[in-house]
Symmetry: C2
Subunit: 292 residues, 2 copies
């Protein structure tokens, strides 16, 4: 995992414009936001899924960098005063605090653009590029991540049913985690054996949905049980903002049991891959057992 | 031109998620921002360039919709309180005034994503999609439109040289106008005759650079000479914000002369196309002679 995290750092460094290139301050701020932090969960998922399907590692590096740019753009915008108004992220001041609000806005905008540009890099086979762009766009736009954030905003102070809460998280966090798995798999999918590729993607979808949900359940648990220093962001803020969470809906014990049940579902979906899915199984463990 | 504007309205309606689709409020706000207004300069340029190279009109509709989504996203974010804090756009309340600041942020984010998704539509030949995505991303990201906005923000109250002012506008407005011409041309470019396609794109680049700059010069003139009702946005705000403009740098008469000179340069670049460039020539006229 350390290897993939280092590869991702290096790919982000390569696929982001240099800080010496004009406009320097914007590029410096984009790199401040994206480099040197984060668990890199999406890149890890992308590489692990690609490994299960023998994808070329250079393509996975590009896809992983694009996924992380989208994730970081969403964090930067989420932290802005008009959204969560948060001052701390990945253990350092948020972009709009370190720079200014307008720069925070532009950094997020430009990171999103850079993500799609990165998917058109020659490291990715020409015939795959548009498919990856469409997949990432569907997962991150108004019917994916951005849509989930809109629902999240509209849900503050409301009592959501478990179904509504699940739907919100399926979009807000789940869609991009699922895209991470799918992009990795698509880099390795074979045109020669379309039926096998299709079956593999279907199994990976089940895996990705389960760990996407587990990720959010654990996030809700950690918001209550961990401190800000461990999390690298403000703890307890969901409860403070009266946001609906799994813990507020189910309680702490039932939330923990749910996370473990989802991990079991994820592992079951990996059976057809045998030993090739070792990393994906380890990641399911990481998602559920993580302390931050 | 009315025909292309109507086609663009219809393409935007088709390529934007329905307002009845969840999350409804976000989709409604995206449509509020994008539909029923605007001069549609970028779609007009895209269709005119495509016409000069016999591009299929369905592909041009998709490319034009994508270009306009990027343009509208930039307007929505530009109008936010942390940027220009503007209350009026295209003759109606800006998105964050009509809805709220967070929705304005998400509408811009999701419109950008939808633009790249639209370029992956089947209306565009599969082999062209990734090239169009890369072109639009280069033009709108940190080394294009968003970069120009960063430079613009950093220039308030500064004395720019004409070269610096031109560089800012080449990015902030010029890059997307140039992309409009190039996307249209790329939809029609022939793989069979790569040399001719390359030469055509080079000529169109000269045209696009000239009218891109002319567009900004005229914007600066109108900011001084037109009223808010005619413009559909707040007049005189550049002067009020002490932003460097062509009028403040060259004066009104010299700015008008410059716009006409740029129109002549644009027309000269169209000569190799003969009658097929009729629309592009008319658009150069429109850009320079427009009253709003």
């Amino acid at each position: 995992m350390k290897d993939v995290q280092a590869r991702t750092e290096s790919a982000l460094d390569r696929y982001l414009p240099a800080a010496t290139q004009a406009p320097e301050r914007l590029h410096e701020a984009m790199r401040y936001a994206a480099l040197g932090g984060g668990k890199r969960v999406r890149p890890l998922l992308c590489h692990a899924a690609g490994e299960a399907l023998d994808a070329p590692v250079a393509a996975l590096d590009a896809a992983a960098a694009a996924l992380e740019m989208i994730h970081v753009y969403s964090l930067v915008h989420d932290d802005l005063p008009s959204m969560d108004n948060d001052a701390m992220r990945r253990g350092k001041p948020t972009v709009h605090v370190q720079y200014d609000d307008a720069t925070g806005l532009l950094v997020g905008d430009a990171l999103q653009t850079q993500a799609f540009l990165t998917l058109c890099d020659e490291a990715i086979p020409a015939a795959r590029r548009a498919g990856l762009v469409a997949e990432l766009a569907m997962a991150s736009g108004s019917q994916g991540m951005a849509g989930g954030q809109a629902i999240d905003l509209a849900s503050v102070g409301l009592k959501l049913t478990r179904e509504q809460l699940e739907n919100m998280h399926r979009l807000k966090t789940g869609a991009l985690l699922r895209a991470a798995v799918r992009l990795g798999a698509m880099c390795g999918a074979s045109d020669a054996d379309a039926t096998a590729s299709h079956a593999a993607l279907a199994s990976l979808d089940v895996y990705a949905s389960a760990i996407g949900l587990a990720f959010q359940v654990v996030d809700d648990i950690l918001d209550v049980t961990a401190d800000s220093a461990t999390l690298g962001k403000t703890a307890g803020k969901d409860a403070a903002a009266d946001k609906p969470t799994y813990v507020s809906l189910l309680g702490l014990d039932a939330s923990r049991a749910l996370a473990r049940q989802l991990q079991a579902e994820a592992n079951q979906a990996l059976l057809p891959f045998g030993a090739r899915a070792q990393r994906l199984s380890e990641l399911a463990e990481l998602v559920v057992q993580r302390a931050y």
